[in-house]
Symmetry: C2
Subunit: 275 residues, 2 copies
């Protein structure tokens, strides 16, 4: 099974997809990306992901960027060529080949596709555990390639026998490195942070679903507040809604997927799988 990768406007065999070492991603960690799910050849929430991709590019002064109609066509070609049942597509735009290793060059576009399995239902039932860590992502509203701290923290997560890290800034919790966080209070109010975070496509969809059903607040959440939540879950393109059973070793609610999480999760999955 030979997969393909798009490098700028060229489909190449995935194993041959390389860029020159003068690219500003390798030299200075400078680039942006976006990531979406593809189910049976159909990209999920593509409009939202492309909107954010072009916003990220503009914020990082990456230009020229491939026009959206051509990018859509190229993505469709890639998906057709790879013909995967379920996959994740990552669109990366780097700082390009820099003459002096510091100044932004002509951006390089790299679109890769990887097969994606469904998460085991057991994890969705049992939930995951998080540890908090004081850290604020730089340029948090942009989906940059900067995961230096996240990758570096992986050892600490394993040591703590945890699933992921939850960042907080001063005493307000913000986000996981690749997911947004939500809490449900004892009076069934859904709360999610609004500041100093990347607003995920899944996060925004969940807010839309919840809006008609319950009280929703987008605001800062104090670290102590989340320990007392009735339910906590995180959201991401790959994880959908994932219950959180433990934060810093403290049991959240009754330690399993709560009723509100299940209900929102079911509705979100229905949209994604078109059922």
């Amino acid at each position: 099974m030979n997969r393909f990768t798009l490098i700028n406007d060229l489909l190449v065999p995935a194993e041959q997809a390389s860029i020159h070492v003068s690219d500003l991603s390798l030299q200075r960690g400078y680039g942006i990306f976006d990531f979406f799910k593809v189910i049976n050849g159909n990209p999920v929430f593509l409009d939202n992901h492309l909107d954010r991709f072009y916003r990220s590019a503009a914020r990082m002064r990456l230009q020229p960027v491939i026009p959206e109609d051509i990018l859509r066509k190229k993505i469709a070609e890639l998906i057709a060529a790879n013909s995967l049942k379920q996959s994740g597509v990552r669109i990366t735009l780097t700082g390009g080949y820099s003459p002096d290793g510091y100044t932004i060059g002509h951006p390089n576009l790299i679109v890769t596709e990887q097969p994606l399995n469904n998460l085991p239902t057991s994890i969705q039932e049992q939930g995951i555990s998080l540890i908090t860590f004081p850290y604020q992502r730089q340029l948090p509203d942009v989906k940059t390639i900067d995961y230096l701290m996240a990758v570096w923290l992986q050892d600490k997560i394993i040591e703590a026998q945890s699933s992921d890290v939850l960042y907080h800034y001063d005493d307000s919790i913000t986000e996981c490195p690749r997911a947004n966080i939500f809490m449900v209070t004892s009076s069934n109010v859904l709360i999610t942070p609004a500041n100093n975070i990347l607003k995920g496509v899944t996060r925004n969809r969940v807010l839309e679903i919840a809006a008609g059903e319950m009280k929703v607040e987008e605001r800062d959440i104090h670290k102590d507040e989340i320990y007392e939540a009735r339910e906590v879950f995180i959201t991401s393109t790959t994880k959908h809604l994932m219950p959180v059973k433990l934060i810093d070793g403290k049991i959240i609610g009754n330690g399993t997927a709560g009723e509100t999480t299940r209900s929102l999760s079911k509705k979100y999955n229905q949209i994604v799988y078109g059922k």
Copy 2:
């Protein structure tokens, strides 16, 4: 004139030096580097740079790393092959080819060499101007490839008709993106920050030179304090000692290279050029 680059243990023509897009530098901005000057084939302060390179690698959990004796031999081969009069050598170690685009893989080593011109004497005389910006580098004691903010700020520097940015954390100034900062007080005390910075090889050499000659303090410097300095200069491998004449539009001292800066600069250059 064909130049070479070292990719892992192989010398390749510089224009063909590429890495696969699954490398963690491109995927997640994860990697470290070091950079030293080479004059007439002789690396300057190589021991110090290699010490820091191996410290950075260990801190970032990059392993295995090429043994030091082999790295030294490979660097010598690269320098001999390129045969440049004066150059800068950059040793980069990335997070490697990651199976899942997130977990650290087997690191990739990339050693590039570029010709380096002397800075014009006029700049060394006149000095440069800085603007301050509130920002704290993540993992500041490690020479990571993370220059996301520095590259992003280039437009603001140009707008302000300035030469570079000076970071501060709370009200303490820390460092420039690629240089350390020093101030000289009216009573001829040399002060440089000690916390939340990368301790440059040039910085440490200047401290050694100054130690026998004047009072030296390594401590936090308040933003307001530096405006009142008699002299300010920055230090780096390429810039050596560079006088600062303006910070945030405020004239430092008499607005030209001060006496202490000149004296330390002369002694530092003598060591570098072996005169």
